[in-house]
Point group: C2
């Protein structure tokens, strides 16, 4: 199995997660943050990618779903690999209906009456994942869990999942990432504190660092 610390190490090594508490990133929303994540970088490493897919598949199997779904676009490759390993049907879900075409959100086989595990690459605010959950529910599917590679663990996101009654599982946690970054001396104690302050209140951290 893939331990959270090992995946956290992989995220840092492959540049999927970048940490810079002293010189914050500007997210596309205008917010400042000490962390930037692009898990798609992991798709470039076949060995690590395969181990992540194995770990996602093992966790998915625990929920005994009849359908594996992936969030569009970044969850699609992971979802397809999981479905392949478990020999299960695969569908993908758009957070918003497609502009042109038939306005469908769930693409592929019908989700109606299926029990689904939804594969996501990253939980940030949780908004787009939960819109995918709603789209599946609207097709009368039961969503057993949302399974993500990584989550920032932001309180508002955790609260949103709770309110929606959606179970969330992640392979690597923010805490395991900060610990691993400390172990590798990628951040000092002050940097780790700043990361944890951001996690507690990302909006306040952003304002304090000149962001929106």
């Amino acid at each position: 199995m893939l331990a959270p610390a090992e995946l956290a190490g992989g995220l840092l090594e492959k540049g999927a997660v970048k940490l810079s508490p002293a010189a914050p990133f500007t997210w596309s929303s205008g917010l400042k943050a000490p962390i930037y994540c692009d898990n798609r970088q992991l798709l470039g490493d076949p060995a690590l990618r395969g181990r992540i897919a194995d770990a996602l598949a093992a966790e998915t199997a625990r929920f005994k779903p009849s359908l594996v779904a992936g969030t569009s676009t970044a969850g699609i490759p992971w979802g397809a690999l999981v479905a392949d390993r478990l020999n299960l049907p695969f569908a993908y879900v758009r957070p918003e209906p497609k502009k042109h075409g038939m306005g469908r959100q769930v693409e592929g086989p019908s989700a109606k009456g299926q029990s689904v595990v939804l594969i996501e690459d990253l939980i940030s605010t949780g908004g787009s994942s939960l819109r995918c959950v709603e789209a599946l529910k609207a097709e009368e599917a039961e969503v057993k869990a949302v399974l993500a590679l990584f989550s920032y663990g932001l309180p508002a996101a955790m609260e949103a999942f709770h309110t929606a009654g959606a179970k969330l599982r992640t392979l690597a946690t923010f805490e395991s990432l900060v610990l691993e970054a400390r172990r590798r001396e990628l951040v000092d104690a002050e940097g780790a504190d700043s990361l944890q302050a951001w996690q507690r209140d990302a909006a306040a951290w952003s304002k304090a660092n000149g962001g929106a």
Copy 2:
């Protein structure tokens, strides 16, 4: 291996391709056509999906690429399965830059200097596939081939690939599909003629059938 006739049979059986020369479909463009294709239905059949992925991987391997790419969104699951089977890095390509975010078209590992096979699910006009080819070339990748599950074989699309200097391979052809549909008595001789007339001149066929 997966013979074209066998895949054509699978496309018809799974409802991925629907034929209706007598009561045409209206495409989202407003055009009328005797055929409608949604290859994403194939994602729902793990056994057939696996055989298609194997066939795509075998064809991809002939070009000895260093990177497998998939077109967003429908080519992503197939591309990921091919990359997994060949133990190669995977990236996906948007036909247009994303509206929000950093405007990237190639997502995942850098395509710069890589030799790429681009996996697509369907060639219709060829426009979106070729925009993906251009995006890869703009990142200084060499595109060895575009590999699609199925193509309508429309002359304008074939011409567009030729003009762009892009090699196109498909697992199932329009001809194999019409033959298989005839063999299964899903269309009669008149219907098959109508399908072939559509392929020769889709615009004229549309107008003659009350379309745009």
